[in-house]
Symmetry: none
Subunit: 553 residues, 2 copies
């Protein structure tokens, strides 16, 4: 019940900033602005309250479901990691000698001992697997929940060479806590693409209900467990590399700097990856079109903080600003990323160290107490739980900057890829998505028309200037109406655009495929098909959105 | 005489910026591209690289060096190209009839006329020599610097047949009623898409011969007759609207402000319109892929001039900077355009009032004495023959800002178009073009490969990060090598990128269609087909470039 009460309270809080923000919108086609605004707000309030009331029930149900899934997995794993008669025993001491291809790579799982030397090159996560060499995989599997399925257990057992000596059983895992046990409670409407780390999006029709995405419904993209930070002891460290200079700021000190508010969408580079995987599988979370949200962010300008720390805008030696999260993996590696210094210092860059999201302290899942908001730039650089800023000559050397979140040619595969040859994604290209109807829906035809709604956005501060929609494979394109668009101008247009259109459909048809494409203020537009933009990491999935629907007449 | 003398002086001056710029190129993928690279750039680079070692940073020293080189060439050339007594005179008109072996191949060099028919087959550069047939070799000798030695001059003189008629080297027309009668003389290699006003591009293969486009070969886009401006009486007027404030600058006063040099491509919004018209006719000049050029521009920063005129960077009342050319139509309307004020004032905007193009005073066709260079922005806002700047709350109300140079949906036609609904084009989207081979060419297959070369560019200071080329309709994409790319980083990457690739082709095929697409630093890429980006003005033609070729094996 406590959860339910909190949920409703939070939702009511959200209502306030949403309405405030809607006052700032420019609703095109605005003959009934006020009505639209209230309609929008009411819809959010009503659906939120209903959702809230259902919340406790759903949460409880979900918890039971997750629990059931876990025991199901456990059943499916069968004998994985259990003692097996007839195999030799190895002590932890012996196992710890096997940490490389030369000495063979051994790992343990519960009571099982495995020689995974031949698997190392096939591991989807690359060399990361060697972190567990000579020891137990269990802490890492707790961190990367994707391993918890029967295929992985079966694969592991195929490398079984022995049993862990009885004296050593339990010493590695007895004090293991689930690193995700302190993750926050989430709203059940968030559909997880991965449970640990937690990654989730909401159903597309909900996404376009409101120009401002409520915090509880904002997509979550976590790479690691959510840190639990005490705001009273929180300190942000700023280092100027090569100058032996460090400055720290408490949360109160940050809040005393000039306050700044922007409305900005944040999008994951993997948004709409699900469409790309239809061409050919890729590595990554299977996102639909919901790995994006639009919020009002309040905080202090990064350029002000860097100025306080002694960064001179005209000092050409520094090229990048690195961010380090307080979230870390079992080896102690923090999440890291960087942006070019021009973006950090530019007065039109609007990079914030945000402490509020939609008018309330940033929720834990979104970076409490401080998240870097780099508007117009891929989500991966909008580092949450910010612990440290380093002004540097070089880019961040983190895995996420160097070996992830980069684009490649469709013909580049995992045998030929060279991550040093592609730049780290910063500004994202123009994109749009149809959020209503969804693929496969039965759609009502009203007066010979169907209603299509969606969002569009472009990185780099570009504004959406047009969304074209077709139901006849491009023979006729219809220009959509903008239902919600911030009035700010490029190159400082950071928010998304919500659009809708009623499209005439032929009576004799039983179904159509709807396509949408957006055009931004630099007149860049979307590529047509995923075939020609496919890439092995499944990022930058901005091809035309295509949705097949049937008619219920 | 005056024309030829100017021409030679210009060409010699051009030499300097070319080697400056080549110093900055980054030649990537160097392992297997040695031959291509040299084929592409060698003639220009040989002396440039040597000269580069002398240190271009000392401007005076460098100028002396260039002058010294010029007089050295002049000494070495001896009497090459000088008037010779006792030889017949030929007019440019007569010379232009001699362009093939059947009619004999004639060329001019300074005042000399040469019949080089017997030399064509001996020319180390092959058929390339025929580009100059019926006209002057001088612009091409700029591209191929290897010609500048006494052996070549002596060889040339051995083919001397006459002198260029003196009447022909001055102004072309004495018809004072023709408003275009004072237009400058152009090089015959410029293929006009329209004669009055003059608009012309060069053949695509020539376009990618040099990272810096020589002035004589730079595409010309004139909307009106070329004004004939006396630099001694020239004045630039700057007005701050609503403040009753006007300031004027003479050319000398402008030149006393801090000097700034950038390398930037300028492109017409109608570039590649010819491909779009294949879908459905449009209104506009029928440009091929040559309505673009890349030059070194020197001048004064617009922000400095506006600062001198009293514009306060933090004054929010002004939103636009309007430019008026001195060129006017029969009703007295000046050419006009505007840009957003943030671009004009931004220290990374690099907007110049340029007085030099590739190291010499800007030629008349390109805006003498002052052209606004708005890097990253469509050519139409790079106003030539600048007469007046107005800082304003509003956009330019000129025809070219309000009723031209805007993008529309493919289904918008002249009955439904509403020009107020689309923003004026500013930054251009990412584009590329295949310049060699051309559509319909017979292509030589060497070791199972064909050579493909082209350019790529993106507006808004974005850098090209990849060019993909396919000969099997996208089944396999090949990543092109960059032969020339400026090292400046986004958001200040203004120059184009030259690329090339040798692509394997199946032996049994007789022909293929080559497609190219570029990706820029915001990971925007080109749309696939003209069908879905067609617009009634035929602008923004950045769909994949597709070229069909046959094989000569």
């Amino acid at each position: 019940m406590k959860f339910l009460a909190n949920s409703v309270r939070r939702i009511l809080f959200i209502y306030r900033p949403i309405y405030q923000s809607t006052r700032a919108f420019s609703f095109s086609n605005s003959n009934n602005n006020e009505q639209t605004r209230w309609n929008t707000c009411n819809k959010i309030l009503i659906s939120s309250v209903i959702a809230g009331c259902l919340g406790y029930y759903a949460f409880d149900k979900q918890r039971k479901y997750v629990f059931a899934e876990a025991s199901k997995s456990s059943d499916e794993s069968g004998t994985a990691g259990k003692f097996k008669e007839g195999l030799p025993s190895f002590s932890l001491r012996e196992i710890s000698d096997h940490t490389s291809k030369d000495t063979k790579v051994w790992v343990t799982y519960k009571e099982g001992v495995y020689d995974i030397t031949d698997f190392v090159d096939k591991h989807p996560g690359g060399d990361q697997i060697l972190i567990a060499a000579g020891s137990s995989v269990e802490p890492f599997w707790l961190l990367y929940g994707v391993h918890e399925n029967k295929h992985v257990y079966m694969l592991l057992e195929s490398y079984r060479i022995g049993n862990l000596s009885k004296e050593d059983v339990g010493t590695l895992s007895s004090d293991l806590d689930d690193p995700y046990s302190k993750d926050p409670v989430r709203h059940p409407v968030l559909k997880p693409t991965s449970a640990k780390p937690f990654n989730a999006e909401i159903p597309p029709p909900l996404l376009v209900e409101s120009f401002i995405t409520p915090n509880e419904l904002f997509y979550v993209r976590n790479h690691l467990p959510v840190p639990d930070i005490d705001p009273n002891t929180y300190e942000l460290e700023v280092e100027l590399e090569g100058r032996n200079k460090r400055v720290t700021f408490t949360l109160d000190e940050l809040k005393k700097l000039p306050k700044c508010t922007i409305t900005a969408a944040i999008m994951c580079a993997g948004n709409r990856r699900g469409d790309m995987t239809k061409v050919k599988p890729v590595k990554g979370l299977n996102w639909g079109p919901g790995a994006v949200g639009n919020a009002v962010w309040t905080g202090v300008r990064l350029r002000d903080v860097l100025g306080k720390a002694g960064v001179d805008e005209d000092d050409a030696r520094y090229k990048h600003v690195k961010f380090e999260g307080i979230d870390f993996d079992v080896t102690g590696n923090m999440y890291g990323a960087s942006i070019p210094i021009w973006k950090a210092l530019d007065k039109r860059g609007d990079v914030l160290l945000a402490y509020e999201m939609n008018g309330v302290p940033i929720p834990r899942d979104h970076g409490f107490p401080i998240r870097v908001v780099v508007p117009g730039v891929v989500g991966a650089r909008n580092v949450k739980w910010l612990g440290k800023i380093t002004v540097s000559e070089k880019e961040s050397d983190s895995h996420w900057q160097q070996n992830d979140y980069k684009g490649f040619s469709p013909s580049t595969d995992w045998d030929t890829v060279d991550f040093t040859k592609s730049p780290a994604i910063q500004e994202l290209p123009v994109i749009s998505a149809i959020c209503q109807p969804c693929n496969g829906d039965n759609v009502e035809v009203v007066d010979g028309h169907i209603l299509v709604r969606g969002y569009a956005w472009s990185g780099g501060g570009q504004k959406i200037v047009r969304v074209d929609v077709t139901v006849d494979a491009g023979k006729t394109w219809h220009v959509a109406h903008f239902d919600g668009q911030d009035s700010s101008e490029p190159p400082q247009h950071w928010a998304w655009t919500l659009w809708s259109i009623r499209i005439p459909v032929e009576k004799h048809l039983e179904s159509v495929e709807i396509w949408a494409k957006a055009v931004d203020s630099s007149y860049n537009t979307q590529p047509e098909s995923f075939e020609n933009i496919w890439n092995l990491r499944g990022v930058l999935g901005n091809a035309y959105h295509r949705v097949k629907v049937k008619f219920s007449q």
